[in-house]
């Protein structure tokens, strides 16, 4: 008697959760090439985020302020602990460190111009300070990185503040990376590297190890600048409570904490997705550390990593940050992942560029290739013309302006005359995870996991 195999229609094409198509693709790529994937931008996976918090606007128990009329201050001062010349910003939204090399000179100029018009700061990045950025950015933060590419005392003296970079959220524990396609003659000369090589930066500073050394290094930078300029210390978010305490111990005026959603121009994707903690969890730990040391308000906190909207800014401030820094949001504002680029006032399709990279507008993360179809993360002389500095500056200014209006809208709704008066009490969480990480009550309850109730 013949037995006929039973055919179950649905499970015949049921995708595995653990071994879905993208996992199979990953394994087979690894098997074919013996190499890991490198890409740009930040973590793509969903993690607890500021979206999981909401504000408790004023009602009967609180008075709101008139949304369009009443004053709501956004002035922000950073570096009040030791520096003779603290940084004064009109808004608490800054532009995060992104290098010339990862970005074109046109883009760096756009950032500087928009930030200056909005009264905020930009930050250099691995590879040194360009003339374009110093001239266009009124307030420029100069990074001191492990590689020390292009690092020199004249630029330290020309900077408005120094940021000692220990790590970044996209890759805490890893150094920078800039692939050969982007090591143009100018980039190579600035970094003292041969043209076209794949540059992999150091992950540790060459002249100090550990927080006690860092204290002396910071003192050196202070002596060099005659104690005028604020010293920031930037850490990628991991053991944030301890790292922030050590940064304060080392003498930082400002601590920058960059969560795992933070971007990069090129890093192993296993690093981007699997190392570091979400920004939401990091803010809470950073504020705890400052409060524990009685340093809240004395040492300022800048938070970065996935800050996109005015609501994100407001939530970071309410949780205790003094300012935020934005990298990827800034790039998207300039036109990253846009279907078109603008030249001579007209829009042109960038589709072919995305197709050549094997992607499409909305999905691109190919900053590492230097073939940015919209001319942002490139050193290519043709492609870089796709981002005109006038267009870039205008777009970024509009973006920063929008964020600031959203921030003040929320602050006024919470009855605050100053965005820095936003407080944790104004927030509740929508998920148990976010409640636990941010140490805020779950909406509609008094329950903070690990603190109150069951």
């Amino acid at each position: 008697m013949d037995s006929k195999p039973v055919h179950f229609k649905r499970i015949a094409k049921e995708e595995s959760w653990g071994y879905n198509r993208s996992t199979i693709d990953y394994i087979q790529n690894a098997a074919a090439h013996g190499l890991y994937e490198i890409r740009g931008l930040g973590a793509k996976r969903k993690v607890p985020h500021f979206d999981d918090l909401v504000f408790l606007g004023a009602s009967l128990s609180r008075y709101p302020l008139e949304g369009y009329r009443e004053k709501c201050s956004t002035k922000t001062i950073l570096g009040t602990r030791f520096a003779k010349k603290p940084i004064e910003l009109a808004i608490p939204i800054t532009v995060a460190g992104m290098s010339f090399g990862s970005l074109s000179a046109n883009v760096k100029e756009s950032l500087g111009r928009a930030a200056s018009e909005m009264g905020t700061s930009t930050t250099t990045g691995d590879g040194g300070m360009t003339q374009e950025e110093r001239l266009s950015s009124k307030t420029l933060i100069y990074q001191c990185l492990p590689s020390r590419y292009g690092f020199n005392p004249d630029d330290v003296r020309r900077a408005d503040a120094i940021e000692v970079v220990i790590g970044q959220g996209a890759k805490p524990g890893g150094g920078g990376m800039l692939l050969g396609q982007k090591i143009s003659p100018r980039v190579a000369a600035m970094r003292t590297l041969p043209e076209g090589i794949d540059q992999r930066s150091a992950c540790r500073h060459p002249d100090w190890t550990g927080p006690d050394d860092l204290a002396i290094k910071i003192q050196e930078l202070r002596e060099l600048t005659d104690w005028e300029k604020p010293i920031y210390v930037k850490v990628g978010a991991t053991r944030t409570f301890n790292d922030v305490k050590l940064a304060v111990h080392s003498g930082a005026d400002v601590v920058v904490v960059d969560g795992m959603q933070g971007g990069t121009a090129a890093t192993q994707s296993c690093f981007i997705e699997h190392v570091g903690i979400p920004t939401l969890a990091a803010v809470r730990q950073a504020v705890d550390a400052l409060e524990d040391l009685n340093m809240k308000g004395k040492v300022q906190l800048i938070v970065s990593g996935g800050i996109r909207t005015g609501a994100d800014v407001a939530k970071a401030l309410a949780m205790g940050a003094d300012a935020v820094a934005i990298g990827q949001g800034v790039l998207y504002a300039l036109g990253c992942n846009s279907e078109t680029y603008v030249q001579n006032g007209a829009h042109f399709s960038a589709e072919d560029g995305y197709t050549a990279l094997g992607t499409a507008a909305g999905f691109c993360h190919h900053c590492h290739t230097g073939k940015c179809p919209v001319g942002i993360t490139t050193q290519d002389v043709i492609l870089e013309q796709r981002l005109n500095p006038d267009v870039g500056a205008k777009r970024l200014k509009n973006y920063l302006k929008t964020l600031n209006m959203e921030l003040t809208t929320i602050a006024r709704a919470c009855g605050k005359q100053n965005v820095h008066h936003l407080e944790p009490e104004d927030l509740v969480a929508l998920t148990v995870e976010a409640a636990a990480m941010a140490r805020l009550p779950l909406a509609g309850t008094n329950w903070i996991p690990g603190i109150s109730g069951y």
């Binding site: 090439h33 020199n152 970094r191 060459p206 050196e220 002596e223």
Partner: protein, 232 residues
């Protein structure tokens, strides 16, 4: 121009560096002798003019850090990061130097009469370093440009991940780092070693350039994905 004596036992370091940044840059001071340094950190950092500084005794971390144009001598030993990120000028340590001496120096000449610790010349970017004694492990790690002359021995992993910097070693090399290789000396190399020894002072004149080996990059790590897109 004035020759000042600055007693660090009596006056704070801040005053010394301020003086070197303002009065020295204004051309009012030609030389400063620093007494009683007692291992203080950050002596004479960020100098920006051809002033002469002599530290009588031992210096702590970062002596002569980020120097431009000045000539700084330490009669004793120096802590971590002596002449780190120097741009030009000269720093001379007559005793020993600790870890990271001459780290990321872009220019100038660092002379160490004695031994240097770990990571001497790490991330070197164009400066020259001459060491009378031996250097510790991981020296010239990721050194990008510039030259190192080591009259004694070198520790483990010398020149790991070297770029275009060139190292000359007279003594024994415990081990070479990844991508570093010994290469034949050319006439240019002999001339370079001779000139650097000569610039470093009479104590170095006894060394014969012909006794030195040349270590440079094999350049196999310049492109990390040379095998990409190959189906095995």
């Amino acid at each position: 121009m004035e020759h000042l004596t600055f007693d660090l036992a009596q006056r704070p370091l801040r005053e010394l560096n301020q003086l070197l940044h303002t009065d020295a840059e204004a051309g009012k001071i030609g030389k400063v002798t620093v007494s009683n340094p007692d291992g203080a950190h950050n002596i004479a950092v960020g100098l920006n003019c051809p002033v002469e500084v002599e530290v009588i005794g031992h210096a702590g971390y970062y002596v002569g850090g980020m120097n431009k144009s000045a000539s700084i001598t330490v009669t004793g030993s120096a802590g971590t990061g002596a002449a780190e990120n120097m741009m030009s000028g000269k720093v001379h340590i007559k005793g020993f130097a600790s870890n990271g001496a001459g780290a990321s120096a872009h220019g100038g000449l660092l002379v160490i009469d004695g031994d240097a610790g770990l990571r001497c010349g790490i991330s070197l970017k164009g400066g020259d370093i001459v060491v009378g004694g031996s250097v510790g492990s991981f020296s010239a790690f990721m050194a990008q440009a510039g030259r190192m002359v080591i009259c004694g021995d070198a520790g483990d992993a010398l020149g790991d991940s070297l770029y275009e910097a060139v190292l000359y070693v007279k003594g024994n090399i415990t081990s070479l780092g990844a991508d570093a290789q010994i290469e034949p000396m050319s006439e240019t190399d002999y001339a370079a070693v001779a000139a650097l020894l000569q610039q470093s002072g009479p104590a170095f004149a006894a060394h014969d350039p012909h006794d030195f080996k040349r270590v440079a990059s094999a350049r196999t790590l310049y492109h990390w994905n040379a095998d990409a897109d190959q189906e095995y």
